[in-house]
């Protein structure tokens, strides 16, 4: 079974997304929530890195956190799935363990 990794800080400000991606195993799920959601805009400089990561990891972003910051789900990098809190719970239940990259 795979791990769910959560990242809650802006990848422009902190290294925790980078560290997460450097340790996650193929097939693991990653959820970006809280301030981490600012990194997912298709026009941003992290788009390429996220698209690459989506080749081996299951990337998700929390919809309520996107909405809070005025980010249209249509502008999110392709390959990242938008979920709500219920989806976060489902990812937790499906995973073997949850690894929070604080």
């Amino acid at each position: 079974m795979s791990t769910l990794h959560t990242v809650n800080k802006s990848p422009f400000e902190r290294s925790n997304l980078e560290s997460c991606l450097g340790h996650a195993q193929p097939g693991d799920a990653v959820l970006l929530l809280e301030d981490a959601v600012v990194g997912v805009l298709a026009g941003g400089i992290l788009a390429g890195k996220l698209a690459d990561a989506a080749q081996t990891l299951k990337l998700h972003v929390l919809g309520p956190d996107l909405a809070a910051r005025g980010i249209d789900p249509a502008q999110v990098v392709a390959g990242i799935t938008v979920v709500d809190y219920g989806g976060f719970v489902d990812l937790t239940v499906t995973a073997k363990a949850v690894n929070a990259w604080l």
């Binding site: 422009f12 809280e34 301030d35 600012v38 298709a42 941003g44 400089i45 005025g70």
Partner: protein
């Protein structure tokens, strides 16, 4: 209050480098800015790095259970706080443009932002 009539006018800058909602800083800086209006100072607001998201249009935080304070930025003009500066490179790196901003602001380069910061008497960051 005496302090509001000190006669001293300083260049104040409130620097915003963090996104809204993930922390309370954006909201509580705004409270500082509103208070500063009563002191007749030369107030500047700078938005750089992730702080540019504070001015993003369309913020709807009901789903995370917190209040949407972003319309308050529109009220700043009524307090004569009109010097809002947004860093161009910060917008571009994040896939944002001037059209994404909910209030008029002057878009300046990183180099100009650095020079402007250097002219300040008081810089407050959260």
């Amino acid at each position: 209050m005496d302090e509001m009539e000190s006669g001293i006018v300083k260049k104040f800058m409130f620097v915003n480098r963090k996104p809204p909602h993930g922390t309370v800083y954006a909201l509580e800086v705004l409270e500082m800015v509103l208070i500063s209006a009563a002191f007749d100072q030369d107030v500047h607001l700078a938005f750089l790095d992730d702080g540019v998201f504070q001015l993003k249009k369309g913020q709807a935080p009901a789903g995370i259970g917190v209040k949407n304070f972003s319309p308050t930025f529109r009220a700043l003009e009524g307090y004569d706080i009109e010097k809002l500066f947004v860093e161009a490179e910060s917008l571009a790196e994040r896939g944002l443009s001037e059209d994404d901003l909910l209030v008029p602001a002057e878009i300046i380069s990183r180099a100009d932002m650095g020079r402007l910061m250097g002219e300040m008497d008081v810089v407050v960051t959260a």
